[in-house]
């Protein structure tokens, strides 16, 4: 009888212990959202990021293994500005997870509460790959990261009330660190205010606005349309005429194109990781720090 009791209670206790230790299972679509989730969730969450840091976020494959990840998730953090339009919908259809239904606390759209730039006045694909909600790369502005971090903290606290204090504490830590870093970054950026940067894709407009570095000249003639010789010639002319000495390129973009443009203009090519998550840029703040400092160094070199 005693052993029978043990048989019953042991699994029961183990079950309870597992339940108490069970972490909130969070899935983030892109590594920037993932980095913010980690900053807020800390060790309290089990985090899966679908897109890889080096991957083109517009073209992620809807792999079946992602369906399993979403099926197990308590929360999904997505961009919410159509960046994942080509791959998230079929994954969610397959996942059969009502916790991630729109409107549920487990469905966190980063763009909510963020003022998106470049909202098109007409939906016209002759203008390239446009997003109806506006430019979806809003997390390149640290102040937008702050809005999203607060949103994540609120959502996680709602989903896991017992750890609400931890999430709020982590948010405060993140906010304080960001505030301190931002002041430092702005001090570094100030001497170069107004210095324009050429980027491959229209990815960095929010970053450029924050630090007063206009980023309105692109190697792509239109978003998502590969560079053409005619367009590159025009870019080279504009670069020579203005003081455009820095060209940036992301891991998945064609570096040779940027190098060619740079060789015609005496410009410097900077490698900008699209997302946090690479070596030395694991966290959001480290990533932003790298972006700001490499740009400032680039400006200094090409003064």
């Amino acid at each position: 009888m005693k052993s029978f009791h043990r048989c019953l209670t042991l699994p029961l206790l183990t079950g309870l212990a597992t339940a108490a230790l069970a972490k909130l299972n969070v899935v983030a679509t892109t590594p920037d959202l993932g980095a913010l989730a980690r900053a807020i969730g800390g060790d309290q969450i089990e985090l899966t990021t679908l897109a890889k840091p080096s991957e083109d976020p517009h073209f992620v494959d809807a792999k079946p293994s992602f369906i399993v990840k979403l099926n197990h998730a308590d929360a999904l953090i997505e961009g919410g500005a159509e960046l994942e339009a080509g791959w998230l919908t079929p994954l969610l259809e397959g996942a059969r997870n009502p916790k991630l239904d729109p409107g549920r606390p487990g469905r966190i759209a980063g763009a909510e509460g963020v003022a998106l730039l470049e909202v098109p006045t007409a939906l016209d694909r002759s203008q390239g790959d446009i997003h109806a909600s506006g430019n979806p790369h809003y997390l390149t502005d640290p102040l937008n990261a702050r809005i999203v971090a607060a949103h994540i903290a609120r959502a996680l606290a709602e989903l896991d009330a017992t750890s609400a204090g931890v999430y709020q504490g982590n948010l405060k830590k993140f906010d304080d660190a960001l505030e301190a870093r931002l002041a430092e970054w702005q001090k570094l950026a100030a001497p170069f205010a107004g210095r324009p940067v050429v980027t491959y894709h229209n990815y960095w407009i929010y970053f450029g606005r924050r630090f007063n570095w206009p980023m309105e000249l692109f190697l792509e003639p239109k978003p998502g349309i590969p560079p053409t010789p005619a367009h590159l010639a025009a870019v080279i002319t504009k670069m020579k005429a203005g003081n455009l000495k820095v060209v940036t390129v992301q891991p998945y973009q064609h570096r040779k194109t940027a190098e060619t443009v740079a060789s015609h203009t005496g410009a410097l090519v900077l490698d900008w990781p699209s997302f946090p998550g690479g070596p030395g840029t694991e966290g959001y703040l480290e990533w932003m720090d790298h972006l700001v400092k490499s740009t400032v160094a680039g400006f200094e070199q090409t003064r």
Partner: protein, 486 residues
């Protein structure tokens, strides 16, 4: 209650209170008052801190610089001037730096999901030539394949989808096709709902839909890697693919890797259930025949006459850049060549894809897709045309390798093979006998929404000997951004 009233009431109350208590209550009240004051001060401090924090945030926001106009390029010398002129003449107009739109008022109703449904339209135009004068007679048996020399438009598809309510999503694909005489044919290819909130990882689908058999059968032609349908799929499921009215229950198994089980119960009558209760095409005398035999065109006698389509699919991440998806399917049901005649189709499918982590616009990649099918068709006797009862066995496979070698370009190679036993059947049946086909292709995708493809078919069959065809395909898509399953 205005402010004066509050003040008066408060002072009256204060007077009353101070007049009323006994001597010994005074220290107690003083203590309470002190406590209240302390708490009030604490609250005030907390609020002040919040106000300060907000003020700081506002200040940071206000300090955020607006984008400054980039310096306007000034011509340095004549060569630059010429370059600029040339560039201006050859390039499409691009807004100069500094005039980029700064968050104009959002377009009402433009956001995804702001209409009740997504609407898109896709069109596939084929153009080409074949050594066979009538390619659709023996070579191109698929309903969306090029049907004739010259131009053909066999798939213009209107796709609708959206949430029906909190419980279901709805999908519809309406296909328009042009026949040889350019008359428009219309087809309700799919119209089904799918549950979103069933418990236990279950999902229900009901309506008219492509059955989950193998890899390519449920895919729409615009997602195919080649211009035409693989031969073995045509043999087993006919020109339209296995499609029908019915219901499907699928279950996502609680395994650490992806495993999904499907079971479809289909009505299984008509040409879209080609090997099943399909009366076939009428002969010269108007008698509907399939495999040479006059058919019954009967109604259901019971649940055993329904068509069952079970499937099991699993996927594995072989590495960070390689994914494998494998499946096994069956289709089991009666056929129309006799009262107790049945058909069984079995298939296995494999899809492997390599794509590095720094792929640009999804390129480069290599994908390998293979399906093998076996059909066992128990045909009834038709004494009037001297056809005995016989078991028709057909089998075959296709295997295709596609390499996306640079962004927007891919090239591929497909090998088709089908064969069957020599069981008694009608002479000249294009769906029987040995046949193989060898198809290289080259595709250019200007964007996600357009595609040009060139394909050559080296075709050899018992029925027609050797045939050569060359096809071009032009595709475009309008409307909602398509999202594709793996």
């Amino acid at each position: 209650m205005n402010f004066r009233t509050i003040l008066t009431t408060a002072s009256v109350l204060c007077c009353a209170v101070s007049a009323w208590p006994a001597e010994d209550q005074v220290p107690q009240l003083q203590r309470q008052l002190q406590q209240l004051q302390a708490e009030f001060e604490k609250t005030r401090l907390a609020q002040q801190q919040q106000i300060d924090a907000l003020t700081r945030q506002l200040a940071t926001l206000a300090n955020a610089p607006a984008p400054a106009a980039a310096p306007v390029p000034a011509p340095a010398d004549d060569q630059q001037k010429l370059e600029r002129e040339l560039a201006a003449a050859t390039e499409p107009p691009v807004a100069p730096p500094g005039t980029a739109p700064r968050s104009p008022p959002p377009l009402a109703g433009a956001h995804a999901g702001s209409a009740y449904m997504n609407i898109s339209f896709g069109s596939l135009l084929a153009a080409g030539w074949s050594s066979a004068a009538n390619p659709s007679a023996q070579l191109e048996l698929g309903d969306h394949d090029p049907i004739k020399r010259g131009f053909a438009l066999r798939n213009a598809e209107i796709s609708l989808d959206g949430a029906i309510d909190p419980y279901f999503k709805g999908f519809a694909n309406i296909v328009l096709k042009l026949d040889k005489n350019n008359a428009t044919e219309i087809e309700l290819e799919e119209s089904y709902l799918q549950s979103t909130s069933l418990p236990a990882n279950l999902q229900l689908k009901a309506g008219q839909y492509f059955a989950s058999f193998g890899r390519q059968n449920p895919q729409h032609p615009h997602t195919w890697a080649f211009v035409d349908q693989p031969l073995i799929l045509g043999r087993a499921f006919g020109p339209d693919g296995l499609r029908g009215i019915g219901t499907q229950l699928s279950w996502l198994a609680p395994t650490p890797f992806y495993t999904e089980l499907f079971l479809s119960v289909l009505d299984g009558q008509g040409g879209t259930a080609f090997s099943f209760r399909n009366p076939g095409d009428p002969d010269a005398a108007g008698v509907p025949r399939y495999a040479g035999r006059a058919t019954l065109d009967r109604t259901l006698r019971g649940p055993q006459d329904l068509l069952l389509v079970p499937r099991l699919a699993s996927s594995f991440e072989l590495s960070d850049s390689q994914t494998l998806l494998a499946g096994a399917s069956a289709a089991l049901g009666p056929n129309d060549t006799g009262p107790q005649r049945r058909t069984e189709v079995y298939g296995v499918d494999l899809f492997w894809k390599w794509k590095p982590a720094d792929a640009a616009q999804g390129f480069p990649y290599v994908s390998w897709q293979t399906e093998a099918l076996y059909r066992r068709f128990a045909a009834g006797a038709d004494p009037l045309v001297a056809l005995p009862a016989a078991t028709l066995r057909d089998y075959g496979y296709y295997t295709q390798l596609v390499w996306g070698f640079v962004p927007r370009w891919n090239t591929g190679l497909r090998l088709d093979y089908t064969a069957g036993n020599d069981a008694a059947t009608e002479a000249g049946d294009p769906y029987r006998g040995q046949r193989y086909r060898f198809s290289p292709e080259l595709t250019f995708l200007p964007s996600e929404f357009s595609k040009v493809r060139l394909q050559y078919n080296y075709d050899h069959g018992d029925l027609f000997g050797t045939a050569h065809s060359i096809w071009m395909q032009l595709e475009f898509g309008l409307g909602a951004h398509a999202a594709h399953k793996y």
